[in-house]
Subunit: 330 residues, 2 copies
């Protein structure tokens, strides 16, 4: 490839994004300056938080029309003017939605050689996996025997939340949006139950699966699902709020559950942002990689080939049509 | 007094209660059976949670039309058929809105002789005080230097929350509904600031008094106040949800703050019900009574004479027209 390709934001969508909200740019491959490293991306991670960046509401900052989309990539080093990195090294960094990118050495991390396939470093062994790990080990005060519910359960974060909790002795109930996702979660990922919220009465199913209430809820969606679940917390429940899928696609900020639900259950509700937990990355890898190697943890990747197809893949992700960690193979 | 007087619920109000929702009954003084104790109430506590009982929404159970209103009283023992209690003992119990009541010994507690005046056992040295103590010492993870905001700040719970926090080294900002209440909180109770939310822009004042955000919020009201405050939490904030004044007077259950407010602040939100903390009562008395004796804690009582006037006093309480702990002197 002798040119660079970038995907830029064209329009700020008001609701769910469409492919036409993005445009493809062709340009020259950048030239590394003193101390810089030129990277060629192999895999790009697409994540729901990007919708928040487009709206200007994400804590990591806004993306404006005309800007190249940001995102985490796994890249191979093409040229390096820094002693810590050499041509051919595989690194993780914020390469963005483009083929070539320049980086300072401080922005690059070598991918742990134990991660195989390497794309897992963007998913269950990367930021989404660390999110789940921090939530389960540090925020949820998990106890064996807890009944845990997780929404967006077949996603990278959700499927790891459920499987880590299962390994730690919990009974896990997932919430997902298709029968196929539910089937995979129960048959492959070892969830006790999974509720297809588009098809079944969420409230009634939770009552059935958690007759004594929910001990731990890990929320990736907010909105109506959060409200229904909060009405069914057990005494002393713990709730980890992590994602807001239900409101990323709208500029109208919806309300949340009534505070009475928290008082009644004497619940503890905590907000989780993975940036606070980067210091636990080695601990996470050391603990969870063996589980993956032993086959205790299953994963799904939703891989699309070609950077030009990233807008379509992002649209599918934001409308729940993906299945597993959404990755672009460049 | 040779007859008993009771106040019963007549109608379930839809909005704020009016005195006509209650009626006065005159009847005979009950006669104590084997092992029972006959009590004559001296003071009756009126509390916002009673509005929830009337609606059938409080965790302690419902009060139906025709039922005598329930409530905590300080009573003198008239006759006793139990060895642990004798005539003239002053006890605390659920005497209800009536002059005479029968009780089992197990339902009675002798009032700690250090509590002076004895009516404080219904207020700052009783359940409201214990509520504040448990919230501050066990739920709020208080640190010296924290900036704490408390709503319904001049009430029994709110004024104790603020003063305990102040004694423990926090800067305290109250939210109350009249200038008179605000003045008392700043000039007498040692709050740093108090915001009259009916007169001033709550959001703007909090920004001014907490330019780096709120570290701890103790909520007695829910509704719009909760929503405004949740938008201004500092990183790592702790929120104790305790009361729902804004929704007691309505059958429409309002929504709560958007979950993004909790995620953004990495906040910890906990529900507080004082019933869980009765085991800390002695610890509370031993720690806080000296503060009261040393004049470190100020209090206000809003005393109405005569049980017949309890409905009027309750109406004033539920419309924020009381000032301090609402007590009926019988």
């Amino acid at each position: 490839m002798s040119e660079n390709i970038q995907i830029r934001l064209k329009n700020r969508p008001e609701n769910a994004p469409v492919a036409q909200d993005f445009e493809v740019f062709h340009g020259q491959i950048p030239v590394a300056g003193a101390g810089e490293v030129l990277c060629r991306s192999l895999y790009l991670s697409l994540d729901p938080y990007m919708r928040g960046q487009i709206s200007g509401r994400h804590i990591s900052g806004a993306i404006h029309p005309g800007d190249t989309m940001r995102g985490e990539t796994i890249s191979e080093i093409v040229t390096s003017d820094h002693p810590d990195f050499k041509m051919g090294d595989v690194v993780m960094h914020q390469g963005g939605w483009q083929v070539y990118s320049l980086a300072e050495a401080a922005e690059l991390t070598l991918v742990d050689h134990r991660i195989e396939p390497v794309s897992l470093a963007l998913g269950i062994m990367g930021m989404p996996g660390l999110t789940a790990y921090a939530g389960m080990l540090y925020l949820a005060e998990l106890k064996a025997g807890d009944r845990l519910v997780v929404s967006a359960a077949s996603g990278a974060v959700g499927s790891m939340v459920g499987q880590i909790a299962r390994i730690l002795g919990c009974e896990v109930i997932g919430i997902a949006g298709t029968d196929e996702k539910c089937r995979w979660l129960v048959e492959e990922a070892g969830f006790s139950h999974c509720i297809n919220y588009k098809k079944h009465d969420l409230r009634g199913r939770i009552e059935k699966y958690c007759p004594e209430g929910i001990d731990v809820y890990f929320d990736n969606v907010g909105g109506e699902t959060l409200e229904v679940v909060m009405g069914q917390l057990a005494l002393g429940a713990r709730v980890v709020l992590c994602g807001l899928m239900a409101q990323y696609n709208t500029d109208v900020v919806p309300a949340g559950p009534n505070p009475a639900t928290i008082i009644r259950a004497r619940a503890t509700v905590r907000g989780l942002v993975v940036y606070d937990h980067f210091d636990k990355k080695q601990e996470f890898l050391n603990k969870v990689l063996p589980w993956v190697e032993q086959g205790l943890i299953k994963y799904r990747e939703d891989v699309t080939e070609g950077l030009e197809n990233a807008p379509d893949a992002f649209v599918r992700l934001m409308t729940g049509k993906n299945f597993g960690k959404t990755i672009i193979k460049i």
